[in-house]
């Protein structure tokens, strides 16, 4: 029997980003809806009972809004794109200078479909990221960061917990302010609330800093001077190479050798620097999430789906981008469809979040004998 345990958050993220990459390679609505269905199925099967796991609906709504906005703007601004006119909106007359821009006018089926496909793709990308957020505890992901980024992780964790505290002390101060009557005007009211809330937040952060210091936060190991210098040089060099590489990649007039090689070199240097500077931090992890077979499997599925879609899109992209001129029904290409369906495998590959309840096996209490 497989025992329930949370999957490593990294594995969920690799899987979700893999599916997102796949979705970004197509505008075929059938394939996109298939990706969405796969993601939703896995979320339904492997979601934990936790506060961060309740937000999937929000991402679905957000996706629908994205599609609606996209289509609405397309209708309003550039409706006439093909020959199948659906209806005509009243047109806003614009001066000569704005030639090429049109507001209102006829709306074509092709234009609406193009906008809907595009919006759907964006919505599915959102859904993939949302699924990762829902399936993996964001704080555990921070815990799994390399040692050198430990301080950053702690800062983010604390910042996350500050927001609800600020809300709470804001509510308290507002209630207290009502005790003194509603004398203040708008600006004064802001000052009357903001000042006590800020001092409260400052006090708390000082207390927290003192508590962390007394509990050993920030203990560092002695690192020889040469290693420190090397770390600095590696990090700085890596960062500069990444900047130059990005510039080379984006500017088409730059020499070829500036692009990809510089970028890769920069990443390598930077990574070495991060690993080396991690030696300074001496700490251990309480119950770290293991990276075992299920993690490899889940992450592998994500990578596989992405790889198939990238390959198909370079070899035979025709079915991935359904034709709008002439207008055709989208088809269902077999290979991508199978690959995306494989994306639902984590619903079985990942360990369950809780033990299955089997009502038939519930032990029955032996009947109590009635005294005669």
């Amino acid at each position: 029997m497989r025992l329930p345990r949370p999957l490593h958050p990294g594995a969920w993220w690799v899987w979700a980003l893999g599916l997102a990459t796949a979705a970004s390679r197509t505008t075929n609505p059938v394939l996109l809806l298939l990706v969405g269905a796969a993601v939703a199925y896995v979320v339904a099967a492997r979601r934990a009972e936790a506060p961060w796991a309740r937000g999937f609906k929000v991402y679905v709504c957000l996706g629908l809004v994205v599609i609606a906005v996209r289509v609405a703007f397309r209708m309003l601004l550039d409706g006439q794109y093909g020959e199948h006119t659906l209806f005509t909106l009243p047109e806003l007359p614009l001066p000569e200078a704005a030639a090429g821009i049109r507001i209102g006018g006829p709306v074509s089926l092709e234009g609406v479909l193009a906008a809907a496909y595009d919006g759907l793709r964006l919505a599915i990308l959102l859904l993939c990221v949302g699924a990762a957020n829902v399936l993996a505890n964001p704080k555990r992901l921070l815990k799994a960061m390399p040692a050198a980024l430990h301080e950053v992780g702690v800062a983010v964790t604390i910042a996350l917990s500050v927001a609800p505290q600020l809300v709470e002390s804001g509510q308290r101060v507002r209630a207290a302010r009502r005790l003194r009557g509603q004398a203040g005007r708008r600006f004064r009211a802001f000052r009357e609330i903001a000042l006590p809330v800020m001092t409260d937040a400052l006090d708390r952060s000082l207390l927290l800093a003192a508590a962390m210091d007394s509990r050993g936060y920030g203990r560092t190991a002695a690192v020889p001077r040469r290693t420190r210098l090397l770390t600095g040089a590696l990090l700085l060099g890596g960062l500069m190479s990444i900047c130059i590489g990005t510039y080379g990649l984006l500017d088409s007039t730059a020499p070829r050798s500036l692009g990809v090689p510089m970028l890769l070199g920069g990443v390598a240097f930077g990574w070495a620097g991060v690993v080396l500077s991690g030696r300074r931090v001496v700490r251990s992890r309480y119950r770290p999430d293991p990276w075992g077979t299920p993690e490899w499997a889940v992450a592998g599925v994500g990578l596989l789906v992405a790889a198939v879609m990238i390959t198909v899109s370079t070899v035979d992209p025709a079915d991935l981008y359904p034709s709008l001129q002439p207008l055709r029904w989208p088809t269902l290409p077999i290979l991508p469809a199978v690959a995306i369906s494989l994306g639902t495998l984590p619903a079985w590959l990942a360990p369950p979040v809780r033990l299955p309840v089997n009502p038939a096996r519930t032990p029955v209490r032996p009947p109590v004998e009635q005294p005669a």
Binding site: G181, P196, R285, Y286
Partner: protein, 534 residues
Amino acid sequence: MIRFEHVTITYPDASEPTLRDVDLTIAEGELCVVVGRTGAGKSTFLGAINGLVPHFTGGHLAGRVVVDGRDTRTHPPRELADVVGMVGQDPLAGFVTDTVEEELAYAMEQLAVRGPVMRKRVEETLDLLGIAELRHRALATLSGGQQQRVAIGSVLTPHPRVLVLDEPTSALDPTAAEDVLAAVSRLVHDLGITVVMAEHRLERVVHHADQVVLLEGDGSAVRSAPGLVLADSELAPPVVRLGRLAGWDPLPLSVRDARREAGPLRVQLASCHPLPEVPSVGAPLLVATNLVVRYGDLLALRDVDLEVPAGQVLAVMGRNGSGKSSLLWALHPAGRRQGGSVTVEGQEPAEVSPVPVGLVPQTPSDLLYLATVAEECGQADRETGQPAGTCRALLNRLVPDLPPDQHPRDLSEGQRLALVLAVQLTGAPPLVLLDEPTRGLDHLAKERLTVVLGELAAAGRAVIVATHDVEFVARTAHRVLVLADGEVVADGPTAEVVVSSPAFAPQVAKVLHPDRWLTVDEIAAALDGAGASR
């Protein structure tokens, strides 16, 4: 274990050192209670033990503090984390993670303790403090006593030799405070941990203590056995003062010791009766009926009825979360209530201006936002439409000679409470409400508050105080209302309600149970009266 060698600590911008030439040793396995008035340097003394003073707070330390052979001059707090566990006053403010288990592991992670060892120690600590069933709970959802125990557990996991606690029970109801102190006392007995603890409410801790460090207020510190220090100190808890009055030797430190000595005193008191303290009850000033307060699906007050006559001080007691604050806020028009009606002197308070209710909230500083005491007073006068100087005059009666140009944040707890009370009294409200006013007050400030509340009641006002402090209630309140789960479970004269309750009985009542005596002053007056009439 802890050695202070001629330690003098001076904060920057301070003209006088906070601690002056402190020279003492605290031995291994001792439970040592640090006592002294507000501002006498208790927190400074505690902070010096793990190096927070002066590494974190700034200031100058002369002499040296050595803990388990490590000098705090060369070891900052983080290098002492495996020797000294430090728990601050507000446990929630010191939590770094979200759940109980992770919080317990945090300090060990920083010290790079190996994984299997961490697992084992977390389990041991959960059992030691009796919080095993809370292991997966979010820290913010725990009650005050549970949070305090988790905070203690979170510094215990690296197996420190010294535990430093700054007022561990100040926010807790009597039962939760007992739980925490029992856990601490168990650590001392079973694990031989040295505990240094600051506490205002000596009656709660002094019978656990092996040694007392008394900070005199002029910077000097004396360490000696509890009986010796308390024999002639004004800080003594009621049971010690009772012993002094009755001439018991040695002085009892616990209720149990005192009960054994109390036989003759009982006989002596048998002929006297506690003074009938309940003032003549007039027409009710406050009438509240069917009060209902809910937060989401949590019912904080369930159909509470309440009548308070003018001239009465009513204490509202009950465990943390029983609805005390909700009741006070429901009586104020600015607070929330979902049902019921409130009238003060026959009128709906929301329709009267200025509002006939003054409420001092649990965190008084929430009300203060101006830069000086004088500005706050002027603002209060304007808000209530009173002639200028009204608030200042009230403040002068509560705390004379408070410098008008001082920033409200620099005041002591007692002074700040007085300032907020004066602000709330400016409109001369007939009904005065105070939410946990004794938190952080030393005994002198508390006595002062008792006098002030008595004066307010004598002037024909009704006063309602929500509090955990049983000794304060015994001295101050005419009547006690006990809330549990949003309902009134007891309501009556202080002596009646309090004497029969195991949690809310003051020490004197416990010693002389089942006779109805509440305070040492009462007994002294009765004995005087009996002597005079003979």
